[in-house]
Symmetry: C2
Subunit: 273 residues, 2 copies
């Protein structure tokens, strides 16, 4: 999906919501556990209930991999279901991969050719040759970790580097923007970082930002938009909610509750656009 | 596997070789492609030929994931084969994972409970709560990326931090050594970094180091040992070779050639121990 198509979907649906698919086998409703594909059945119901209100889905691979090959098979079923039933959704493999060049090339193959997603999250620690193999696939995206939503982001990402005032996350954005432009690279910036969006926009003035941390992690949607949204209808934000939507209810009404939670968030987004 | 058991295996086998299992479907011998499990058959033959000469195997998950669920199934078969036939081998899932706390916990479950490996490589960028969920499994290990073997290691890992002379990779080691000791945490340090092992030993005086980059990537085994080996028979090194062993021949004799390459490396290690 191109940047223009993504922006057009956001404008048409009046939403920049990304629904995070984190199906923990220990948390999904008990009645799904009887069938052979509980993770898929859970995700399928969530997708069917939420797709009018979002523009992207972000399956987190950890939750599928925790069941081994059988979980990965259900991930493939989930991606296929989204592709076939909601072809306008942007699908992000939240994988946080990154390895030496020849190995990153295999992860790229896994994401873009085997799974067929639109984007993959990548960790920057190993530098240029670990990121570049993910680039150059037409219509595909790298979403690089910059400033994450968790407490541990303070350990390394916030350190100043090189004897300057620049912090590591800013250096990551500045350096990586020499590898790819805002047509094929986005950045992860946690909603819990509020005012930091001003600093982020100084180094990433046109990039889309994938923003986790609204909801269960406590980030504010208003603050993210005030400091992070691009003008002229470009939006430049994909705000993710996982637990707040998919576990809105743990009963048999989980899908309706998820749809309702997504609808509520999308209405807030409509007002902010 | 405990640290003591690992050291005892190294002393008994007179080898600290780790064989990297990177089975690229586009590179493995053509005669294996007819069967239903080419990656597994390739790895199985490599393991059977090399196990007398090494103390560890390091399957890199990218190569299996590039075939989707079917590849992950063959990874599980490979791990099971090693466990059943060479119970004294230390198995490392080279996965370079790391995510927010609740998600890292799922990756830990995938590696230690589902796959049953001894260790997993973890990326440090997201900090403490992304690493800690991998700790506390008895006899299991985190192998944290510190200074990697690839050119991109210069982009961020070598930056000085915090207005001091300390470089990011040193800070990663120093900070993370507050989370876990040398009984359950190792570090990845690329063999291509030669003299850096002196600096590494200043901040990680007792830790085991997993050292990729000997062979195809050009690192020197002698230099790694001169600056990185621990005294008193503790060794403190697992030196990995992947391509130099598993692709020593691309013909039907690939397993014999791999065995021979591993035997040669192990003989060099014997002399250096």
């Amino acid at each position: 999906m191109t940047r223009r198509e993504l922006i057009s979907n956001i404008q048409r649906k009046r939403s920049f919501l990304c629904v995070g698919l984190d199906p923990d086998i220990k948390k999904i409703p008990a009645h799904l556990l009887d069938g052979p594909n509980p993770l898929f059945e859970f995700c399928k119901a969530i997708v069917d209930a939420t797709s009018p209100y979002c523009v992207a889905y972000k399956p987190n691979l950890a939750f599928f991999e925790s069941l081994g090959a059988d979980g990965v098979r259900q991930l493939e079923m989930t991606v296929r279901h989204i592709r076939q039933n909601c072809p306008d959704q942007f699908i992000i493999a939240d994988a946080k991969r990154g390895d030496i060049g020849n190995t990153s090339a295999l992860y790229a193959r896994a994401a873009f050719e085997q799974m067929g997603v639109d984007a993959i999250t990548v960790a920057p620690y190993m530098g240029e040759d670990s990121v570049k193999p993910f680039l150059g696939y037409e219509g595909k995206w790298v979403i690089l970790l910059a400033l994450t939503s968790n407490p541990g982001s303070k350990n390394f990402q916030m350190l100043t580097v090189d004897g300057s005032d620049e912090r590591l996350f800013e250096r990551v954005i500045r350096t990586s923007s020499e590898w790819a432009g805002p047509e094929e690279m986005m950045y992860v910036v946690g909603a819990t970082q509020g005012r930091m969006f001003e600093d982020i926009r100084r180094v990433a003035p046109r990039s889309f930002l994938l923003v986790p941390g609204v909801g269960a992690q406590g980030g504010s949607l208003e603050e993210v938009c005030r400091y992070g949204m691009l003008p002229d209808g470009e939006c430049g934000l994909l705000v993710n909610s996982s637990r707040g939507i998919i576990y809105a209810s743990t009963g048999t009404d989980f899908a309706e509750a998820a749809g309702e939670a997504a609808r509520t968030l999308a209405a807030q987004m409509d007002a902010l656009l």
